[in-house]
Each structure stands twice: as C-alpha cells, then as structure tokens.
C-alpha cells in the first residue's frame, strides 16, 4: 500500500464492575482496495448483555452503511429503528463515533452522543469544527460531522462516556475525570513518549480512567480507540531455508538490503545468514524457557529465534493474548510483530526431514501452514499490512 502514511489502530476496554461482557463495542476494518479504514466505537444503553447487543448491532450496521457510502441521516434512522427497545426506558439507543479515513489522509468523523473525539497534532489538541445534522424522525438526536486532512503524527482518540465520567462521585473528582482531564493525561503521555503506539496509549487511558474510579471499580463500561497516523514501521521476518541451496546468498541479501527491522525464525535459517553475511550468532540465555527454545543474538538483526515451535506459540498468543510474565523467543517475536505496521515474510520452503519423524508431537506443523495462519490473523485481527514471499 502507501509508503507515505500508515494508520495504526489500538483499542482498550474495561467492562463495568460486576458485568461479564462489554456494554461498549469497538470495531475497525480495513478495506485495502479502497485504501480506506473505518473505525467505530459504540456505547449501548445500560450495561452488560443488553448493552452489548445494542452496541454490537450498532457497530455492525454502521460499518455496513459507511462502507457502502449510504446517506448518513437515512442510515442513522434505519439503525435507530432496528435497535430493540429497552423495556425500562422505552427507547432504543446506542451512541456511536465513526472515523472513516483514507490513506491519503482524508478523514471524516461522525458522532452521536459520545464524548467529542480528541484530535492531536504537533502534540497539541486541535478543535475541529463540526456541522450538526438533525433527524426528522428522532428529534432529540443530532449527529456531528467533522472533516479534516490528516498528516503524519496525527492522532484521533475516540472514547465512551465511561472515560470522561470515570471517578464520578469520588471526592477528588466529583464530576468525574472529564474530557479535559483525559486530554491533559494524553498530552502528558505523548510529551513523555512522542512515539507511543496507539495500542499502548489506548490501554494507558483506560487504565488511568480505572484508577480514578472509587475503589478502582469501573462504574460504567470504559472504552477507548486510538488512531495514530504515521510512517509505517517495517519488519522483515525470515523463516526456513530456501528450497534451493544456490539461493542462500540471495536470501541473505534480503536481510542486508532491508530498510527496517529484521527477525529470523529458525536455527538453520540463522546458520545460513550467519555464514553468508559473516555475522556472529550467540545464544541469549536471558530468554530461557522450558517450552520455547532460547533466542540468539546476531549483530544487526533485531531478533533470532527457533523456528516452528516459536511460530506455533506466536500464533497461539496472537489468538489468546500475550503471556506478559514471560520473556521467551515467542513473546519477543509477538511483541515485535504487534509493534510493526508492515510485515514482509520470506518463507523458505525446504522441508526439514528431521521433523517428519512420526515420534514427534503433532504440533510440529509444516512451516508454510503456520505462517499462513499467522499472516491471516495479523491481517484480519490486527489490521497489519502483510506480504509473503516463498523462496
């Protein structure tokens, strides 16, 4: 895709204390053909399962409407009509914020009843002018529409009222944290770490909101989505030896020519690079773990790990979440993948005969299969730009 701009999306959520599921829904989608990203945050009326249904219906419907460029007021009315009516309050209701952005930077934001989004440029908050539109059918609902052209290092932050009202009733924050409090916190965070990733920032905001709450128990669902516009961070992942040994040199050349971070997964792969580029590779004992073989260090390479076991565990963590208390090769590789925007996989297709022994555990998958699973999940769940090359 574009070399100029990349949009990183990170979200964090905390459900209301005592509830099993989130009453807010966040949902983002990348449409590669149109070079377009749509991100939605919706807060359902009340909390728990009912709110979850309302907000998930809203996000899914809104996604379909925005995606197909439907007229906005009409689609909002359809959404209001379709939502089930709350038995207690006799209204059908869920708020939403939609960011519809294209990779050349053109962005539109539609909001209904969520706290106004925060827009940050050059480490300062910028107020974006908006236009209000009203529904004929639902008089009390207004939608705010803002438009802007984004540039590098811009951030758009969406949040539910759980963030701005955090701490409500707490003596220190009688009116809650408020949007201003949240904004000050965000600016401080960015001042300390100007490159903070969208994911880290979203989690920091939700955590800080939770800290404001009485006894640190969430009084409402707290959700936050951060869109961060920046230059793509590139990562090259080499795994497996080339099918034809004659191509080893060409394979190693890819590493030395790459303008980004590099990771090597596989003992034999590391041996090839070590030999071809005359680099020294040493085992890194700080990555000791009983389930994953240790990493190595190689000059100029950001990470060197074992192959198939590590990749299998990386896939598991991409699905289930990172094991934060570990520091083995798989955890390091997962973090590296998540911190990158564009990931180029180069997969050597030589079959390791030693792995075909029927006495070995079933988990020893064929490399191509596990890489395929990893890149699908990175693409669909984490919205990364992926390329794969077999050699």
């Amino acid at each position: 895709m574009s070399d100029s701009l990349f949009i990183e999306i990170g979200s964090a959520q905390q459900q209301k204390n005592g509830e099993d599921c989130f009453g807010d829904t966040v949902y983002s989608k990348k449409i590669p053909e149109e070079r377009r990203i749509i991100s939605i945050l919706s807060d359902g009326l009340g909390s728990g399962v009912k709110a979850n249904i309302l907000s998930s219906m809203t996000t899914r419907m809104a996604m379909k409407f925005v995606e197909s460029n439907m007229e906005l007021m009409h689609s909002s009315e359809v959404m209001m009509d379709a939502l089930p009516v709350c038995q207690i309050r006799k209204i059908s209701y869920a708020t939403f914020s939609v960011v519809d952005t294209q990779l050349d930077g053109k962005t539109r934001v539609f909001e209904m009843d969520n706290p106004p989004f925060i827009f940050i440029r050059d480490n300062k908050a910028v107020n974006v002018r908006y236009r209000e539109i009203y529904s004929e059918k639902w008089k009390e609902r207004t939608i705010n529409i803002s438009q802007m052209t984004n540039q590098e290092e811009d951030r758009i932050i969406l949040m539910s009222d759980g963030v701005t009202q955090a701490g409500l009733g707490n003596r220190q924050y009688p009116l809650g944290w408020q949007r201003q409090g949240c904004l000050d916190f965000i600016l401080e965070k960015i001042r300390k770490n100007p490159m903070i990733s969208a994911n880290d920032l979203a989690h920091a905001i939700v955590q800080e909101a939770l800290n404001k709450e009485v006894a640190k128990k969430a009084g409402d669902d707290i959700s936050c989505t951060v869109l961060y516009f920046r230059k793509p961070r590139k990562l090259l992942v080499l795994t497996g030896p080339p099918f034809d040994e004659k191509r080893d040199a060409e394979f190693a050349e890819l590493v030395s020519a790459y303008d980004g971070k590099t990771a090597i997964c596989g003992g034999t792969t590391a041996n090839i690079i070590e030999r071809e580029l005359c680099l020294k590779c040493e085992i890194d004992k700080t990555s000791f773990d009983m389930t994953i073989p240790m990493c190595s260090t190689m000059e100029g390479i950001d990470l060197v790990t074992e192959g198939i076991l590590t990749l299998t565990d990386v896939y598991r963590m991409l699905k289930e979440g990172i094991d934060n208390n570990k520091n083995n090769g798989a955890v390091r590789l997962t973090k590296l993948l998540l911190d990158s925007d564009r990931i180029d996989f180069v997969v050597g297709t030589k079959i390791n005969i030693a792995h075909q022994d029927p006495n070995l555990p079933m988990e020893l998958e064929i490399r191509r299969n596990i890489v395929k699973k990893i890149f699908r999940i990175l693409q669909d769940k984490y919205l990364k730009e992926i390329s794969v090359k077999y050699i």
Partner: protein, 89 residues
C-alpha cells in the same frame, strides 16, 4: 579440577521437543555434586538430525566433552558427566 566438563546441548526444534528442554535445566539446578564442574552451552541445531538412521540414533543430542550422547535424557547426561569428572580426577 582444572577444566570444566563442556556440556553442549542441541536445542534445535526436534531435539527440543524430544526432551532437550529438560536437559537444559542443568544450567540452573544441576545436582550439587556436579554443579561446579560443568559448563553448559546451548547450540542451535547441530544438523545431526539430518543423518539420523544412517549415522546416528535419534536425538536429543548432547555432547559431553568429546563424547556424543544420543537419545539423551537428563539421567543419561548426568551419568555421563559424572564419568567424565571421575576420569579427569
């Protein structure tokens, strides 16, 4: 004793799943009688598995000084180390 016993453990994928992971724990909790006399070195795949059946039995492969332990287990390696220590005493 002047020279420590060099224990080189292959931690390539197939050796690792066949049990090298357990042998690795020698690094942190070796039996007290040998703990001070060994030097543990983990090696990436030593490619011995490529010649399983033609040249070697199966892994995990561990070198104790210059002797190769095939189908290594924790006990096998510890016994081998004790033999080596005795030899050099």
């Amino acid at each position: 004793m002047a020279n420590k016993v060099r224990v080189r453990i292959c931690v390539g994928t197939s050796c690792f799943v066949m049990g090298a992971a357990q042998i690795q724990s020698l690094e942190f909790n070796a039996p007290s009688d040998i703990a001070d006399y060994i030097e543990i070195i983990e090696e990436r795949c030593m490619n011995l598995c490529k010649e399983v059946k033609t040249k070697y039995n199966s892994g995990p492969f561990v070198w104790v000084n210059d002797e190769l332990v095939e189908e290594a287990t924790y006990e096998k390696v510890v016994n081998k180390i004790r033999e080596e220590i005795k030899k050099s005493c």
